[in-house]
Symmetry: C2
Subunit: 234 residues, 2 copies
Amino acid sequence: MIRRLTTSRVETLEDELERQVLDGRFTPGEHLGEIALAEEFDVGRNTLRAAFDGLVRRGLLVKSRNRGVFVRALTAHDLAEIYELRTALEVQASRILAGRRSVPDAARSAYAHHHRLGPRSSQRVVVEADLAFHRALVVGTGNARLTRAHKTLEIEILLCLAQLVQGYASVGQLAGEHDALLEAIERGDQTEAEAVIRRHLENATLWLIEHATAPDEPLYTLGRAAPIESRDLG
Amino acid sequence: MIRRLTTSRVETLEDELERQVLDGRFTPGEHLGEIALAEEFDVGRNTLRAAFDGLVRRGLLVKSRNRGVFVRALTAHDLAEIYELRTALEVQASRILAGRRSVPDAARSAYAHHHRLGPRSSQRVVVEADLAFHRALVVGTGNARLTRAHKTLEIEILLCLAQLVQGYASVGQLAGEHDALLEAIERGDQTEAEAVIRRHLENATLWLIEHATAPDEPLYTLGRAAPIESRDLG
DNA sequence: GACCTAGGATTGTGCTACAATCTGCTTCAG
DNA sequence: CTGAAGCAGATTGTAGCACAATCCTAGGTC
Protein backbone atom coordinates (compact mmCIF):
# COMPACT_ATOMS: atom_id res chain seq x y z
CA MET A 1 0.00 0.00 0.00
CA ILE A 2 1.33 3.36 -1.04
CA ARG A 3 1.05 6.11 1.52
CA ARG A 4 1.46 9.79 1.00
CA LEU A 5 4.32 11.40 2.84
CA THR A 6 2.57 14.63 3.53
CA THR A 7 -0.97 15.24 4.64
CA SER A 8 -2.96 18.11 3.32
CA ARG A 9 -4.07 20.95 5.49
CA VAL A 10 -7.70 20.02 4.95
CA GLU A 11 -7.20 16.47 6.18
CA THR A 12 -5.33 17.61 9.25
CA LEU A 13 -8.03 20.11 10.02
CA GLU A 14 -10.76 17.58 9.44
CA ASP A 15 -9.20 15.13 11.87
CA GLU A 16 -8.65 17.81 14.46
CA LEU A 17 -12.22 19.03 14.22
CA GLU A 18 -13.51 15.49 14.45
CA ARG A 19 -11.53 14.96 17.60
CA GLN A 20 -12.83 18.14 19.17
CA VAL A 21 -16.42 17.36 18.30
CA LEU A 22 -16.17 13.84 19.72
CA ASP A 23 -14.44 15.23 22.79
CA GLY A 24 -17.45 17.42 23.38
CA ARG A 25 -15.84 20.79 22.83
CA PHE A 26 -19.06 21.93 21.16
CA THR A 27 -22.57 21.34 22.40
CA PRO A 28 -24.98 19.40 20.18
CA GLY A 29 -26.61 21.74 17.70
CA GLU A 30 -24.03 24.45 18.20
CA HIS A 31 -23.31 26.73 15.30
CA LEU A 32 -19.76 26.78 13.97
CA GLY A 33 -18.88 30.11 12.42
CA GLU A 34 -16.47 30.11 9.53
CA ILE A 35 -14.60 33.27 10.25
CA ALA A 36 -13.86 32.63 13.90
CA LEU A 37 -12.79 29.04 13.37
CA ALA A 38 -10.71 29.80 10.29
CA GLU A 39 -8.89 32.36 12.37
CA GLU A 40 -8.48 30.05 15.35
CA PHE A 41 -6.97 27.25 13.27
CA ASP A 42 -5.07 29.75 11.18
CA VAL A 43 -6.36 28.49 7.86
CA GLY A 44 -8.20 30.10 4.99
CA ARG A 45 -11.95 30.04 4.81
CA ASN A 46 -11.74 27.79 1.76
CA THR A 47 -9.76 25.22 3.65
CA LEU A 48 -12.10 25.27 6.60
CA ARG A 49 -15.10 24.87 4.35
CA ALA A 50 -13.54 21.84 2.71
CA ALA A 51 -12.98 20.31 6.13
CA PHE A 52 -16.59 21.09 7.07
CA ASP A 53 -17.76 19.33 3.94
CA GLY A 54 -15.92 16.22 4.94
CA LEU A 55 -17.39 16.18 8.41
CA VAL A 56 -20.85 16.82 7.03
CA ARG A 57 -20.55 13.78 4.80
CA ARG A 58 -19.26 11.77 7.72
CA GLY A 59 -22.31 12.79 9.70
CA LEU A 60 -20.66 14.78 12.48
CA LEU A 61 -21.91 18.14 11.28
CA VAL A 62 -24.97 19.25 9.40
CA LYS A 63 -25.04 22.08 6.93
CA SER A 64 -27.77 24.53 6.24
CA ARG A 65 -27.45 26.81 3.25
CA ASN A 66 -26.55 30.36 4.12
CA ARG A 67 -26.70 29.52 7.80
CA GLY A 68 -23.56 27.49 8.19
CA VAL A 69 -22.72 24.21 9.86
CA PHE A 70 -23.90 22.87 13.18
CA VAL A 71 -22.80 20.05 15.40
CA ARG A 72 -25.12 17.18 14.70
CA ALA A 73 -27.57 16.54 17.52
CA LEU A 74 -28.36 12.85 17.67
CA THR A 75 -31.48 11.27 19.06
CA ALA A 76 -32.54 7.83 20.18
CA HIS A 77 -34.02 7.44 16.72
CA ASP A 78 -30.59 7.98 15.20
CA LEU A 79 -29.19 5.40 17.55
CA ALA A 80 -31.72 2.87 16.27
CA GLU A 81 -30.91 3.70 12.66
CA ILE A 82 -27.21 3.43 13.23
CA TYR A 83 -27.54 0.04 14.81
CA GLU A 84 -29.77 -1.26 12.04
CA LEU A 85 -27.13 -0.33 9.53
CA ARG A 86 -24.39 -1.67 11.73
CA THR A 87 -26.23 -4.95 11.94
CA ALA A 88 -26.46 -5.11 8.17
CA LEU A 89 -22.71 -4.68 7.80
CA GLU A 90 -21.57 -6.96 10.57
CA VAL A 91 -23.98 -9.74 9.64
CA GLN A 92 -22.56 -9.70 6.16
CA ALA A 93 -19.00 -9.63 7.48
CA SER A 94 -19.67 -12.53 9.81
CA ARG A 95 -21.17 -14.56 7.01
CA ILE A 96 -18.25 -13.88 4.72
CA LEU A 97 -15.75 -14.89 7.38
CA ALA A 98 -17.72 -18.00 8.32
CA GLY A 99 -17.85 -18.90 4.64
CA ARG A 100 -14.07 -18.98 4.71
CA ARG A 101 -13.86 -20.49 8.19
CA SER A 102 -11.23 -17.92 8.96
CA VAL A 103 -11.10 -15.70 12.01
CA PRO A 104 -8.80 -12.74 11.27
CA ASP A 105 -5.77 -12.55 13.52
CA ALA A 106 -6.64 -8.97 14.35
CA ALA A 107 -10.03 -10.08 15.61
CA ARG A 108 -8.48 -12.71 17.82
CA SER A 109 -6.05 -10.31 19.40
CA ALA A 110 -8.72 -7.64 19.76
CA TYR A 111 -10.86 -10.20 21.52
CA ALA A 112 -8.04 -11.11 23.87
CA HIS A 113 -7.30 -7.48 24.62
CA HIS A 114 -10.91 -6.70 25.36
CA HIS A 115 -11.38 -9.82 27.45
CA ARG A 116 -8.39 -8.89 29.54
CA LEU A 117 -9.88 -5.57 30.65
CA GLY A 118 -11.07 -5.34 34.23
CA PRO A 119 -13.98 -3.46 35.79
CA ARG A 120 -11.62 -0.60 36.64
CA SER A 121 -10.93 0.28 33.03
CA SER A 122 -12.25 3.60 31.86
CA GLN A 123 -15.29 3.65 29.64
CA ARG A 124 -13.23 5.06 26.83
CA VAL A 125 -10.88 2.10 26.89
CA VAL A 126 -13.70 -0.44 27.04
CA VAL A 127 -15.56 1.17 24.17
CA GLU A 128 -12.46 1.34 22.02
CA ALA A 129 -11.60 -2.30 22.71
CA ASP A 130 -15.12 -3.41 21.89
CA LEU A 131 -15.19 -1.41 18.67
CA ALA A 132 -11.76 -2.70 17.75
CA PHE A 133 -13.05 -6.26 17.88
CA HIS A 134 -15.99 -5.50 15.64
CA ARG A 135 -13.83 -3.46 13.31
CA ALA A 136 -11.39 -6.30 12.96
CA LEU A 137 -14.17 -8.58 11.75
CA VAL A 138 -15.21 -6.14 9.06
CA VAL A 139 -11.68 -5.28 8.00
CA GLY A 140 -10.94 -8.99 7.92
CA THR A 141 -13.30 -9.45 5.01
CA GLY A 142 -10.95 -7.42 2.86
CA ASN A 143 -13.88 -5.45 1.47
CA ALA A 144 -12.85 -1.80 1.41
CA ARG A 145 -16.40 -0.53 0.91
CA LEU A 146 -17.77 -2.53 3.78
CA THR A 147 -14.91 -1.24 5.87
CA ARG A 148 -15.51 2.36 4.93
CA ALA A 149 -19.19 2.18 5.71
CA HIS A 150 -18.41 0.62 9.06
CA LYS A 151 -15.87 3.27 9.88
CA THR A 152 -18.43 5.97 9.28
CA LEU A 153 -20.75 4.23 11.69
CA GLU A 154 -18.06 3.93 14.33
CA ILE A 155 -17.71 7.67 14.37
CA GLU A 156 -21.43 8.14 14.69
CA ILE A 157 -21.50 5.65 17.53
CA LEU A 158 -18.85 7.62 19.35
CA LEU A 159 -20.89 10.75 18.84
CA CYS A 160 -23.92 8.99 20.28
CA LEU A 161 -21.96 7.93 23.32
CA ALA A 162 -20.68 11.45 23.77
CA GLN A 163 -24.08 13.04 23.39
CA LEU A 164 -26.73 10.82 24.82
CA VAL A 165 -25.51 7.71 26.56
CA GLN A 166 -23.30 7.34 29.55
CA GLY A 167 -21.88 4.07 30.65
CA TYR A 168 -21.32 0.97 28.59
CA ALA A 169 -22.11 -2.70 28.78
CA SER A 170 -19.86 -4.85 30.92
CA VAL A 171 -16.83 -6.55 29.47
CA GLY A 172 -18.01 -9.95 30.66
CA GLN A 173 -21.31 -9.80 28.85
CA LEU A 174 -19.80 -8.61 25.59
CA ALA A 175 -16.85 -10.97 25.61
CA GLY A 176 -19.10 -13.99 26.07
CA GLU A 177 -21.04 -13.09 22.96
CA HIS A 178 -17.88 -12.31 21.02
CA ASP A 179 -16.56 -15.71 21.89
CA ALA A 180 -19.68 -17.42 20.59
CA LEU A 181 -19.32 -15.52 17.34
CA LEU A 182 -15.71 -16.49 16.80
CA GLU A 183 -16.59 -20.06 17.52
CA ALA A 184 -19.37 -20.09 14.93
CA ILE A 185 -17.09 -18.50 12.34
CA GLU A 186 -14.43 -21.08 13.01
CA ARG A 187 -16.92 -23.88 12.51
CA GLY A 188 -17.98 -22.28 9.24
CA ASP A 189 -21.55 -22.10 10.45
CA GLN A 190 -22.88 -19.06 8.60
CA THR A 191 -26.40 -19.33 9.93
CA GLU A 192 -25.24 -19.53 13.51
CA ALA A 193 -22.71 -16.73 13.05
CA GLU A 194 -25.43 -14.49 11.69
CA ALA A 195 -27.80 -15.39 14.50
CA VAL A 196 -25.17 -14.67 17.14
CA ILE A 197 -24.10 -11.29 15.80
CA ARG A 198 -27.72 -10.30 15.25
CA ARG A 199 -28.60 -11.11 18.83
CA HIS A 200 -25.45 -9.43 20.09
CA LEU A 201 -26.20 -6.16 18.33
CA GLU A 202 -29.85 -6.30 19.25
CA ASN A 203 -28.88 -6.58 22.89
CA ALA A 204 -26.55 -3.65 22.48
CA THR A 205 -29.27 -1.56 20.87
CA LEU A 206 -31.75 -2.27 23.61
CA TRP A 207 -29.19 -1.50 26.27
CA LEU A 208 -28.15 1.77 24.65
CA ILE A 209 -31.66 3.01 24.02
CA GLU A 210 -32.63 2.19 27.55
CA HIS A 211 -29.69 4.20 28.82
CA ALA A 212 -30.16 7.09 26.42
CA THR A 213 -30.75 10.31 28.28
CA ALA A 214 -32.28 12.29 25.47
CA PRO A 215 -35.80 11.88 24.17
CA ASP A 216 -36.61 11.29 20.54
CA GLU A 217 -36.25 14.94 19.62
CA PRO A 218 -32.92 16.69 19.38
CA LEU A 219 -31.94 19.18 22.02
CA TYR A 220 -31.57 22.60 20.52
CA THR A 221 -29.20 25.10 21.91
CA LEU A 222 -30.08 28.69 22.54
CA GLY A 223 -29.73 31.09 19.67
CA ARG A 224 -29.59 29.67 16.19
CA ALA A 225 -31.49 26.45 15.94
CA ALA A 226 -29.98 23.43 14.28
CA PRO A 227 -31.32 22.81 10.79
CA ILE A 228 -34.06 20.32 10.10
CA GLU A 229 -32.61 18.58 7.14
CA SER A 230 -29.21 17.93 5.76
CA ARG A 231 -28.66 17.06 2.16
CA ASP A 232 -26.90 13.79 2.66
CA LEU A 233 -29.10 12.21 5.24
CA GLY A 234 -32.45 13.51 4.08
CA MET B 1 -40.09 17.28 4.55
CA ILE B 2 -38.62 20.72 4.13
CA ARG B 3 -36.94 21.42 0.83
CA ARG B 4 -34.76 24.32 -0.09
CA LEU B 5 -36.07 26.57 -2.81
CA THR B 6 -32.73 27.25 -4.37
CA THR B 7 -29.92 24.84 -5.03
CA SER B 8 -26.35 25.83 -4.60
CA ARG B 9 -23.96 26.09 -7.47
CA VAL B 10 -21.86 23.29 -6.06
CA GLU B 11 -24.78 20.89 -5.93
CA THR B 12 -25.85 21.71 -9.46
CA LEU B 13 -22.33 21.20 -10.68
CA GLU B 14 -21.95 17.97 -8.78
CA ASP B 15 -25.09 16.54 -10.30
CA GLU B 16 -24.10 17.64 -13.78
CA LEU B 17 -20.65 16.12 -13.46
CA GLU B 18 -22.12 12.91 -12.11
CA ARG B 19 -24.41 12.69 -15.10
CA GLN B 20 -21.57 13.26 -17.53
CA VAL B 21 -19.34 10.69 -15.89
CA LEU B 22 -22.12 8.08 -15.89
CA ASP B 23 -22.91 8.94 -19.49
CA GLY B 24 -19.36 8.11 -20.40
CA ARG B 25 -18.17 11.55 -21.41
CA PHE B 26 -14.82 10.75 -19.84
CA THR B 27 -12.86 7.56 -20.20
CA PRO B 28 -12.05 5.55 -17.05
CA GLY B 29 -8.92 6.89 -15.43
CA GLU B 30 -9.06 10.17 -17.32
CA HIS B 31 -7.61 13.21 -15.64
CA LEU B 32 -9.94 16.12 -15.01
CA GLY B 33 -8.13 19.45 -15.00
CA GLU B 34 -9.42 22.15 -12.71
CA ILE B 35 -8.81 25.16 -14.86
CA ALA B 36 -10.32 23.84 -18.07
CA LEU B 37 -13.43 22.45 -16.39
CA ALA B 38 -13.96 25.50 -14.19
CA GLU B 39 -13.89 27.56 -17.34
CA GLU B 40 -16.20 25.22 -19.24
CA PHE B 41 -18.84 25.23 -16.51
CA ASP B 42 -18.25 28.89 -15.84
CA VAL B 43 -17.63 28.51 -12.13
CA GLY B 44 -14.73 29.39 -9.88
CA ARG B 45 -12.03 26.89 -9.09
CA ASN B 46 -13.24 26.80 -5.48
CA THR B 47 -16.69 25.73 -6.54
CA LEU B 48 -15.41 23.08 -8.89
CA ARG B 49 -13.14 21.67 -6.23
CA ALA B 50 -16.03 21.40 -3.82
CA ALA B 51 -17.99 19.48 -6.45
CA PHE B 52 -15.00 17.22 -7.05
CA ASP B 53 -14.83 16.51 -3.35
CA GLY B 54 -18.41 15.37 -3.35
CA LEU B 55 -17.91 13.04 -6.28
CA VAL B 56 -14.76 11.65 -4.73
CA ARG B 57 -16.67 10.78 -1.59
CA ARG B 58 -19.38 9.24 -3.69
CA GLY B 59 -16.80 7.09 -5.40
CA LEU B 60 -17.09 8.41 -8.95
CA LEU B 61 -13.76 10.17 -8.93
CA VAL B 62 -10.50 9.55 -7.18
CA LYS B 63 -8.17 12.25 -5.99
CA SER B 64 -4.44 12.26 -5.87
CA ARG B 65 -2.68 15.05 -4.07
CA ASN B 66 -1.11 17.64 -6.34
CA ARG B 67 -2.10 15.57 -9.34
CA GLY B 68 -5.80 16.23 -9.45
CA VAL B 69 -8.86 14.05 -9.84
CA PHE B 70 -9.43 11.14 -12.17
CA VAL B 71 -12.46 9.23 -13.28
CA ARG B 72 -12.60 6.12 -11.20
CA ALA B 73 -11.72 2.99 -13.13
CA LEU B 74 -13.65 0.04 -11.74
CA THR B 75 -12.68 -3.60 -11.94
CA ALA B 76 -14.43 -6.92 -11.50
CA HIS B 77 -13.08 -6.87 -7.97
CA ASP B 78 -14.95 -3.65 -7.31
CA LEU B 79 -18.07 -5.23 -8.69
CA ALA B 80 -17.75 -8.05 -6.20
CA GLU B 81 -17.21 -5.63 -3.33
CA ILE B 82 -20.16 -3.52 -4.32
CA TYR B 83 -22.47 -6.49 -4.43
CA GLU B 84 -21.29 -7.78 -1.07
CA LEU B 85 -22.18 -4.46 0.47
CA ARG B 86 -25.41 -4.29 -1.46
CA THR B 87 -26.34 -7.69 -0.14
CA ALA B 88 -25.69 -6.52 3.41
CA LEU B 89 -28.03 -3.58 2.99
CA GLU B 90 -30.84 -5.30 1.15
CA VAL B 91 -30.83 -8.33 3.42
CA GLN B 92 -31.29 -6.04 6.36
CA ALA B 93 -34.02 -4.08 4.58
CA SER B 94 -35.87 -7.24 3.65
CA ARG B 95 -35.72 -8.50 7.20
CA ILE B 96 -37.01 -5.22 8.58
CA LEU B 97 -39.90 -5.17 6.14
CA ALA B 98 -40.74 -8.82 6.77
CA GLY B 99 -40.67 -8.11 10.47
CA ARG B 100 -43.46 -5.63 9.87
CA ARG B 101 -45.19 -7.75 7.22
CA SER B 102 -45.45 -4.62 5.15
CA VAL B 103 -44.53 -4.27 1.51
CA PRO B 104 -44.05 -0.58 0.71
CA ASP B 105 -46.46 0.76 -1.89
CA ALA B 106 -43.55 2.12 -3.87
CA ALA B 107 -42.06 -1.35 -4.07
CA ARG B 108 -45.30 -2.79 -5.32
CA SER B 109 -45.68 -0.23 -8.07
CA ALA B 110 -42.00 -0.47 -8.98
CA TYR B 111 -42.46 -4.20 -9.28
CA ALA B 112 -45.49 -3.76 -11.53
CA HIS B 113 -43.67 -1.25 -13.69
CA HIS B 114 -40.66 -3.47 -14.10
CA HIS B 115 -42.74 -6.55 -14.76
CA ARG B 116 -44.61 -4.73 -17.49
CA LEU B 117 -41.47 -4.06 -19.53
CA GLY B 118 -41.00 -6.09 -22.68
CA PRO B 119 -37.88 -7.43 -24.37
CA ARG B 120 -37.79 -4.34 -26.61
CA SER B 121 -37.12 -1.96 -23.74
CA SER B 122 -33.74 -0.32 -23.73
CA GLN B 123 -31.17 -1.50 -21.25
CA ARG B 124 -31.26 1.84 -19.54
CA VAL B 125 -34.96 1.54 -18.83
CA VAL B 126 -34.69 -2.02 -17.57
CA VAL B 127 -31.80 -1.18 -15.27
CA GLU B 128 -33.58 1.82 -13.84
CA ALA B 129 -36.78 -0.16 -13.24
CA ASP B 130 -34.87 -2.94 -11.53
CA LEU B 131 -32.95 -0.51 -9.33
CA ALA B 132 -36.15 1.34 -8.53
CA PHE B 133 -37.65 -1.82 -7.11
CA HIS B 134 -34.66 -2.51 -4.89
CA ARG B 135 -34.48 1.12 -3.88
CA ALA B 136 -38.11 1.10 -2.86
CA LEU B 137 -37.46 -1.75 -0.47
CA VAL B 138 -34.64 0.09 1.23
CA VAL B 139 -36.42 3.43 1.33
CA GLY B 140 -39.46 1.61 2.69
CA THR B 141 -37.61 0.80 5.88
CA GLY B 142 -37.59 4.50 6.72
CA ASN B 143 -33.93 4.27 7.70
CA ALA B 144 -32.18 7.31 6.22
CA ARG B 145 -28.71 5.91 6.75
CA LEU B 146 -29.52 2.62 5.09
CA THR B 147 -31.02 4.60 2.24
CA ARG B 148 -28.01 6.84 1.87
CA ALA B 149 -25.60 3.93 1.78
CA HIS B 150 -27.75 2.20 -0.80
CA LYS B 151 -27.91 5.30 -2.96
CA THR B 152 -24.14 5.50 -3.02
CA LEU B 153 -24.03 1.93 -4.20
CA GLU B 154 -26.58 2.56 -6.92
CA ILE B 155 -24.33 5.16 -8.42
CA GLU B 156 -21.37 2.83 -8.32
CA ILE B 157 -23.45 0.13 -9.96
CA LEU B 158 -24.32 2.48 -12.78
CA LEU B 159 -20.64 3.29 -13.18
CA CYS B 160 -19.88 -0.43 -13.36
CA LEU B 161 -22.48 -0.91 -16.04
CA ALA B 162 -21.09 2.02 -17.98
CA GLN B 163 -17.50 0.88 -17.71
CA LEU B 164 -17.32 -2.87 -17.79
CA VAL B 165 -20.57 -4.66 -18.37
CA GLN B 166 -22.87 -4.53 -21.31
CA GLY B 167 -26.29 -6.06 -21.31
CA TYR B 168 -28.45 -6.87 -18.34
CA ALA B 169 -30.40 -9.79 -16.99
CA SER B 170 -33.82 -10.43 -18.49
CA VAL B 171 -36.92 -8.91 -16.99
CA GLY B 172 -38.58 -12.31 -16.63
CA GLN B 173 -35.81 -13.78 -14.50
CA LEU B 174 -35.57 -10.79 -12.22
CA ALA B 175 -39.30 -10.28 -11.81
CA GLY B 176 -39.81 -13.86 -10.74
CA GLU B 177 -37.31 -13.47 -7.95
CA HIS B 178 -38.75 -10.12 -6.96
CA ASP B 179 -42.14 -11.69 -6.69
CA ALA B 180 -40.85 -14.40 -4.36
CA LEU B 181 -39.31 -11.73 -2.17
CA LEU B 182 -42.49 -9.69 -1.87
CA GLU B 183 -44.40 -12.83 -1.05
CA ALA B 184 -42.01 -13.76 1.74
CA ILE B 185 -42.16 -10.23 3.18
CA GLU B 186 -45.94 -10.32 3.11
CA ARG B 187 -45.94 -13.60 5.00
CA GLY B 188 -43.60 -12.06 7.56
CA ASP B 189 -41.07 -14.82 6.95
CA GLN B 190 -37.78 -13.09 7.71
CA THR B 191 -35.64 -16.14 7.15
CA GLU B 192 -37.15 -16.83 3.77
CA ALA B 193 -37.02 -13.17 2.74
CA GLU B 194 -33.33 -13.09 3.57
CA ALA B 195 -32.68 -16.31 1.70
CA VAL B 196 -34.49 -15.06 -1.39
CA ILE B 197 -32.76 -11.70 -1.60
CA ARG B 198 -29.40 -13.32 -0.91
CA ARG B 199 -29.87 -15.78 -3.75
CA HIS B 200 -31.19 -13.05 -6.01
CA LEU B 201 -28.17 -10.84 -5.51
CA GLU B 202 -25.78 -13.74 -5.75
CA ASN B 203 -27.24 -14.62 -9.12
CA ALA B 204 -26.86 -11.02 -10.19
CA THR B 205 -23.24 -10.94 -9.09
CA LEU B 206 -22.36 -14.10 -10.95
CA TRP B 207 -24.09 -12.88 -14.08
CA LEU B 208 -22.37 -9.51 -13.97
CA ILE B 209 -18.91 -10.83 -13.32
CA GLU B 210 -19.31 -13.33 -16.10
CA HIS B 211 -20.27 -10.55 -18.46
CA ALA B 212 -17.62 -8.12 -17.28
CA THR B 213 -15.32 -7.18 -20.13
CA ALA B 214 -12.45 -5.90 -18.09
CA PRO B 215 -9.94 -8.03 -16.23
CA ASP B 216 -9.21 -7.57 -12.58
CA GLU B 217 -6.88 -4.68 -13.15
CA PRO B 218 -8.09 -1.22 -14.11
CA LEU B 219 -7.53 0.01 -17.61
CA TYR B 220 -5.30 3.03 -17.59
CA THR B 221 -5.53 5.69 -20.17
CA LEU B 222 -2.57 7.11 -21.96
CA GLY B 223 -0.80 10.01 -20.36
CA ARG B 224 -1.27 10.54 -16.68
CA ALA B 225 -1.98 7.31 -14.88
CA ALA B 226 -4.82 7.06 -12.45
CA PRO B 227 -3.72 7.10 -8.83
CA ILE B 228 -3.24 3.93 -6.86
CA GLU B 229 -4.97 4.89 -3.70
CA SER B 230 -7.74 7.22 -2.68
CA ARG B 231 -8.18 8.40 0.83
CA ASP B 232 -11.73 7.27 1.32
CA LEU B 233 -11.57 3.81 -0.04
CA GLY B 234 -8.08 2.88 1.07
C1' DG C 1 -50.61 39.72 18.86
C1' DA C 2 -49.64 39.19 13.91
C1' DC C 3 -47.47 41.02 10.04
C1' DC C 4 -44.17 43.71 7.46
C1' DT C 5 -39.72 45.95 6.73
C1' DA C 6 -34.95 47.48 7.34
C1' DG C 7 -30.46 46.50 8.93
C1' DG C 8 -26.69 43.67 10.34
C1' DA C 9 -24.37 39.43 10.11
C1' DT C 10 -23.03 35.21 7.82
C1' DT C 11 -22.42 32.34 4.08
C1' DG C 12 -21.84 31.61 -1.25
C1' DT C 13 -18.98 32.42 -5.04
C1' DG C 14 -15.38 34.25 -8.00
C1' DC C 15 -10.82 36.09 -8.51
C1' DT C 16 -5.92 36.69 -7.80
C1' DA C 17 -1.48 35.52 -5.94
C1' DC C 18 1.85 32.63 -4.49
C1' DA C 19 3.69 28.21 -2.42
C1' DA C 20 4.06 23.21 -2.83
C1' DT C 21 4.53 19.39 -5.59
C1' DC C 22 4.36 16.47 -9.48
C1' DT C 23 5.75 15.23 -14.37
C1' DG C 24 8.57 15.08 -18.07
C1' DC C 25 12.66 16.46 -20.33
C1' DT C 26 17.43 17.39 -20.49
C1' DT C 27 21.89 16.45 -19.16
C1' DC C 28 25.65 13.84 -17.85
C1' DA C 29 28.29 9.92 -15.87
C1' DG C 30 29.23 5.15 -16.46
C1' DC D 1 23.08 2.91 -24.60
C1' DT D 2 21.28 2.95 -19.86
C1' DG D 3 20.06 5.15 -15.84
C1' DA D 4 20.36 8.71 -12.32
C1' DA D 5 20.23 13.54 -11.19
C1' DG D 6 18.53 17.97 -11.80
C1' DC D 7 16.00 21.65 -14.09
C1' DA D 8 11.76 23.78 -16.05
C1' DG D 9 6.90 23.95 -16.84
C1' DA D 10 2.41 22.89 -15.46
C1' DT D 11 -1.03 21.85 -12.02
C1' DT D 12 -2.80 21.75 -7.63
C1' DG D 13 -2.95 23.63 -2.54
C1' DT D 14 -3.97 27.44 0.22
C1' DA D 15 -4.79 32.21 1.63
C1' DG D 16 -7.12 36.44 1.23
C1' DC D 17 -10.15 39.81 -0.69
C1' DA D 18 -14.49 41.51 -2.73
C1' DC D 19 -19.09 41.40 -3.47
C1' DA D 20 -23.66 39.05 -4.02
C1' DA D 21 -27.18 36.17 -1.91
C1' DT D 22 -29.52 34.84 1.96
C1' DC D 23 -30.88 34.56 6.62
C1' DC D 24 -31.89 36.36 11.42
C1' DT D 25 -33.36 39.82 14.49
C1' DA D 26 -35.30 43.82 15.92
C1' DG D 27 -38.33 47.45 15.53
C1' DG D 28 -42.38 49.50 13.87
C1' DT D 29 -47.34 49.36 12.12
C1' DC D 30 -52.00 47.86 12.04
